[in-house]
């Protein structure tokens, strides 16, 4: 799910406003975004609040908290989406322990599906 070599800080103007990384859906088809219930990002033991997370698929950016209402866009099979987390100052250079947990509402399964992944990524500037 977590894609190697994708951890970066997000810079706007002179400020580092947060960080981002690439993730995939742990699933064999694409899924409408309204069924992506959660993308939880934990870095070095700190879990980002949902309100600070946004998701970009093929150029379209959505706040995580708005996904339940997105009925006209999908996260394609194997597509690397960019998950961005607002965090003033971003992350320090070097290695970080990154965990991502995705919860998906799959209609033919009685309980939510999804998956979790954990990797050590090196932040490059």
């Amino acid at each position: 799910m977590i894609v190697e070599d994708t951890l970066r800080n997000v810079v706007k103007g002179d400020d580092v406003t947060g960080f981002q990384l690439g993730v995939r859906l742990p699933y064999y088809r694409g899924l409408g975004l309204s069924m992506v219930e959660d993308v939880q990002v934990t870095v070095d033991g700190e879990t980002a609040p949902a309100s600070a997370v946004s998701l970009t698929v093929h150029g379209n950016t959505y706040k995580l908290t708005d996904l339940p209402g997105v009925f006209d866009d999908r996260w394609e099979m194997g597509e690397i989406a960019t998950v961005a987390v607002d965090k003033p100052g971003g992350l320090g250079l070097g290695e970080h322990s990154v965990a991502v947990r995705e919860r998906l509402r799959i209609s033919y399964m009685p309980v939510p599906g999804g998956g979790a992944d954990q990797k050590v990524l090196t932040l490059q500037d």
Binding site: P68, I106, Y108
Partner: protein, 351 residues
Amino acid sequence: MLNIAHQIKRGVSFYSYQEECFLKKMSLEDCVSEAASIGALGLEVIPEQSITGYPDPGEAFYRTWDGWMQQYGTTTVATDLFLDTKRYPGRVMTLDEMTASVRKDLDIAKRMGARNVRAIINTPPEVMEACASYAEKLGLKLLLEVHAPFHYEHPWVIRHLEVMHRLQSPALGFMPDMGTFVERFPRVMSDRALRDGARPHFVELAVETYNSRGDVHGLMDTFNYMGANPVEQGIARLSTFLTWNDPRGMLEHLPLIHHIQAKFYEMTDEGVEYSIPYEKIIPVLIEGGYQGYLSSEYEGNRHIQDIFEVDSVEQVRRQHRMFERLLGEGSPTENAGVAAGASTQGGHSVR
């Protein structure tokens, strides 16, 4: 060699190549070309997997697809629909919304030149009924998948049978998944549980209970009493999702069966499926006069990806060499030639 005439054809579901497609090692055209190269000329496609921009990929995609079918000599035999009944947070789709969703998938199937559409098992009988005449108009068959742990005597499937028998629509029927005929516990699953931390005596008990047709549903309780860890509980649960049924049970329903998902978990070096006895299944299909496709569905990928590089291409090739043998395709000399040629291109074994 087999000398009985039959009309069974070979195909492949691109579900089989999902690992390579997910990792972008194979393009959609690579899937078409690979299937064609092993004589699996009937393609089964999951539009939500293979078509960027589903459900509206645009005319250019369909033109490219049609071009590949001509170029490689393949045909689209089936598409698989999913019914996202939980699309809207907090409520389930209405029957009208489900019907509209299925019709949209029927339109896509028609445009791709398919003749069969897989209705996922959670499709309500009312929706099948509401879509039957639409499918008829398009010349398509809307086929309910019969997937483990479901079977033809299951109350949900009986409700579907009631609709099929009452409507007598040529458009409605079944698409059984050969995963309902798991005779032996798949080794890829038990090995994975051991790697994930299940203790051998738990795994042995689950495998032995399954293989001897014991009480797999009682295993969860037994395992709890034995102090099972989560992985061990997982393998107990898994053993209730697997089913063995006598393949002869299909004979009664064969007039309603128009496509078959030839599920497999592991083609061994000896050229047989470890857990699903195709040597018992295929003669039943021949006896019943089945005229559709055997559509390869490789599902071992997820059970070995922690330790091996998945080689779906080689696994599917092996299944087709087995099909050729069991279907009596070609002369023995030709078969040997095909096998030798494919094995030199095959890459490494997954086991």
